[in-house]
């Protein structure tokens, strides 16, 4: 903000107040905005005031939530949910039985084997972006990247339609994950709030001042902003204002991000890993009302030594995922929380001469559990080698339509990118009814 202009404008309007801003406050705010913008990709997060009323609590309970477990790099379907033992494409792992008769999964997932009654696996994903940037965009938005439209991520959509407008916590949180489509044309209000790999909040989120001082500073800032907004409709100014308000409200809700005490008790359930901690954080945030939490694990891009990579990554992942499902169920949250498991791509049936698997999108697997989903099933089949979809192909659009439907969001609902109406799930997409409760 340009201080001299603000004062001049104030003066032009006959305002005789003495200078109300001092350079130190401005610098602090600029630093805050810079830090905020850096963390939020240049736009402002979505915040709301936390209500403590019974009505607010009730509204939270009825709302639906989503936790996206993002397997960055593309987990292999052959080493997770669609095994081909004995086939040339099978690899060295063996399948194990689960608590659902007839469903077998990889031996690397013994804990998930006991949760499969909650899980619906799609073995017939057939998508259209084979490389990471395009695939990450596609499986975060449901749309191909286009230069002229900024499609919103799943998290932004859920934040909009299931978020609490009055929460001190953001409605869209990313924990160590990927994807930078953000809120797209939905606007900065639905941008994700990112936290680090170990769940740490950005340093700018902490005020060093006493609460009363911080309130007075905010009142002052608010006043100056209110003067400015009358003469400027700058998007950046709007972002600045919202960002500041959001950061302030976050102060009240910081405790939601502190899981150390609970981690000590939950470590065994989620597994002693960073991914386990992130999943616990996700449960906690959902429990406090956050609409959408994305939890990332990286990286499954196993072009070499595929078996070793998956043996390293899958066990902590599946332990945490199983713990999350169990924890949500025990807390009565699973019926209102959709847990989505996916990456941007699958992996090739053929094992290359680096003992790896490359990118593959003609036939791969994702999984859904919880809210709105009929668990204990597999949907779609691959052929004997896992090379092609044999039955019931599911496109990225169908996948997103299914996710939104499970969350009670109409996938055909349109928002506007400029003057252009854009449905939440791509034209021609349909939810997979067999997966929905």
């Amino acid at each position: 903000m340009d201080q001299p202009d603000a004062r001049a404008r104030a003066g032009d309007r006959g305002n005789t107040m003495p200078p109300i801003c001092n350079p130190t406050a401005h610098l602090s705010r600029r630093a805050l905005m810079k830090g905020t913008l850096a963390a939020a990709g240049g736009v402002v997060m979505n915040w709301g005031g936390l209500t403590g009323t019974a009505l607010g609590e009730e509204a939270k309970k009825e709302r639906k939530h989503c936790i996206l477990l993002w397997m960055n790099g593309g987990a292999s379907q052959f080493e997770t949910f669609d095994m081909k033992p004995g086939r040339p494409t099978g690899g060295p792992y063996r399948p194990i039985s689960t608590n659902v008769n007839g469903i077998q999964i990889c031996e690397l997932m013994p804990k998930m084997a006991k949760q499969m009654d909650k899980v619906a696996v799609i073995r017939s994903m057939r998508t259209s972006q084979v490389d990471h940037p395009g695939g990450i965009y596609l499986m975060h938005t449901g749309y191909q990247p286009r230069g002229n439209i900024r499609y919103p991520e799943m998290g932004a959509v859920v934040a909009k339609y299931q978020g609490l407008g009055d929460s001190d916590l953001p409605n869209f949180v990313k924990i160590s994950s990927n994807g930078d489509a953000g809120a797209g044309f939905l606007g900065p209000k639905y941008q994700p709030f990112g936290i680090g790999a170990e769940g740490g909040l950005p340093p700018f989120s902490t005020s060093q001042k006493p609460e009363l001082d911080e309130k007075r500073r905010n009142d002052l800032r608010s006043f100056v902003d209110s003067q400015f907004v009358e003469t400027s409709r700058s998007e950046v100014a709007k972002m600045h204002r919202e960002s500041y308000e959001a950061a302030r409200r976050l102060q009240k809700a910081r405790q939601a991000f502190n899981i150390d005490a609970e981690w000590a008790k939950s470590k065994d359930l989620y597994g002693d890993s960073e991914f386990g901690r992130r999943c616990l954080m996700a449960r906690r945030l959902v429990e406090t009302g956050v609409a959408f939490v994305e939890v990332g694990q990286s990286s499954y891009d196993s072009h070499a030594d595929n078996a070793s990579w998956h043996r390293g990554l899958v066990p902590p992942m599946e332990h945490a995922w199983a713990g999350l499902l169990e924890d949500l169920k025990q807390r009565g949250l699973l019926d209102t929380t959709l847990v989505v498991w996916t990456g941007e791509i699958g992996r090739t049936p053929t094992i290359n001469n680096r003992a790896g698997r490359d990118h593959y999108v003609r036939c791969w697997s994702t999984a859904l559990a919880g809210c709105g989903i009929k668990g204990g099933q597999t949907y779609g089949e691959s052929d004997e080698n896992g090379a092609e979809v044999k039955t019931n192909p599911v496109t990225e659009g169908d996948f997103f339509a299914t996710v939104y439907s499970a969350l009670g969001i109409n996938p055909k609902k349109e928002n506007y990118a400029g003057i252009r109406p854009v449905p939440l799930a791509n034209f021609g997409s349909n939810p997979v009814k067999e997966l929905l409760d």
Partner: protein, 397 residues
């Protein structure tokens, strides 16, 4: 003490192996019987005469030496063969597998039956691209005898990666991906020592000193998450007491702490260890230890350590990518290593000088590793398993 001249070698056989990846090789007693195992759990045995039979032809258009059919298939393992080792007298073959079992085979054991084996891998090798090849029409089969193991040694509950034998073949050491190590008394077919490495680590290699009293165990943990990469370990253990004798990596990095997983800490050992010291050996006199860097590291080095104090004697580099297998010649003068650069490198132990390179790379980067090596007790033949589906056999003067 038999020896060989590494500068005078000749490729005498290229044995086609079933369209699969041979992952382990061992000579059975002399240089004329060879066993190799693949990722499907099959172990084939060949009789390799001193000279290829008249009319023996290469197994494919890109082959340069004759192919012979195997004579026997050892059946029982149901997952990848990770290691093969034969006792010096050639009477026993020991195999380890991802099926969690250690099996002992009598090399002169009776046949259990006969089966038709299909060993033409060339059709599969021609399948390019990322889609799975259509299952090829099997070529004319080869009739082989079949045999089952004389003993199955149970004790591991996860993939067995590591196998080593004492010089007299009476003791074996095995290690698995749950960080468990077992030392076996082979004549008695029973475990005599057990211990575990660092939680989350895999035992990627294990060797026994010639006298079988000391074990060398290499641990490596593959990445679990963005930051969950525990440090590796390379340690000497006393077999009798199952206790640690010497932490060799600690000798190199005194500040190494398994509990510290910072970036800075990891950089200290990552260049030294790369993607794991996945192949190890004691020198025949037990005074030196060799440990080779595995994985897709850009320089596959072999570190030589003094077995008495763990100090680094020298590092031999030369492989363009990770080392997959190594062994000492029986006179201890040469170190033979195979790698992901598809080549066998033979170096002098005394000064690290490379004196011979065997095998011609067949393609560009990452083309068909050599996965395992074996040298015959008379030092006249060297076998190298190749994930292109070939077992190469060279003969030295």
């Amino acid at each position: 003490m038999p020896s060989f001249d590494p500068t005078k070698s000749k490729l005498v056989y290229q044995l086609t192996f079933g369209g699969s990846w041979p992952k382990a090789v061992a000579f059975l007693g002399d240089g004329q019987r060879l066993a190799a195992g693949n990722q499907f759990g099959q172990i084939y045995v060949w009789n390799l005469p001193a000279a290829p039979p008249a009319g023996a032809k290469p197994g494919g258009k890109d082959r340069m030496a004759p192919n012979l059919p195997p004579v026997r298939r050892l059946e029982g393992h149901v997952n990848e063969i990770s290691q093969l080792a034969a006792t010096p007298d050639g009477k026993l073959l020991i195999s380890t597998s991802y099926d969690h079992s250690v099996r002992v085979w009598r090399t002169d054991g009776p046949a259990a039956g006969k089966a038709e084996a299909f060993l033409d891998g060339s059709t599969r090798q021609k399948a390019p691209g990322k889609q799975a090849a259509k299952t090829p029409e099997p070529s004319e089969g080869v009739m082989v005898e079949t045999q089952t193991a004389s003993d199955i040694l149970a004790g591991h509950a996860n993939w067995i990666f590591a196998l080593g034998l004492s010089a007299d073949g009476t003791r074996a050491i095995t290690g698995d991906t749950s960080s468990n190590v077992i030392v076996w008394d082979i004549p008695g077919r029973k475990p005599i020592a057990k211990w575990a490495g660092y939680p989350w680590a895999w035992i990627v290699s294990a060797s026994l000193a010639p006298d079988g009293q000391t074990a060398l165990v290499s641990e490596y943990a593959y990445k679990r998450d963005d930051f969950d990469i525990p440090p590796p370990a390379l340690k000497l253990w006393d077999v009798a007491t199952a206790t640690e004798k010497l932490d060799i990596l600690k000798v190199q990095f005194p500040k190494l702490d398994p509990k510290i997983r910072t970036y800075g800490s990891s950089q200290a050992w990552r260049k030294f260890v790369a993607d794991g010291l996945i192949t190890t050996a004691f020198s025949p006199d037990g005074k030196l230890i060799a440990a080779g860097q595995g994985g897709e590291t850009d320089t596959g080095k072999v570190h030589l350590f003094d077995a008495a104090n763990g100090k680094l004697v020298r590092t031999i580099s030369g492989h363009r990518y990770g080392v997959t297998s190594l062994l000492f010649s029986s006179d201890g003068k040469h170190l033979v290593s195979g790698g992901r650069d598809t080549q066998v490198r033979i170096c002098q132990v005394a000064d690290g000088k490379e004196v011979a390179v065997l095998n011609t790379p067949r393609g560009g980067q990452f083309k068909d590793w050599l996965s395992a090596l074996a040298i015959s007790p008379d030092q006249k033949r060297l076998a190298a398993a190749d994930i292109a589906g070939i077992v190469h056999v060279w003969e030295f003067a």
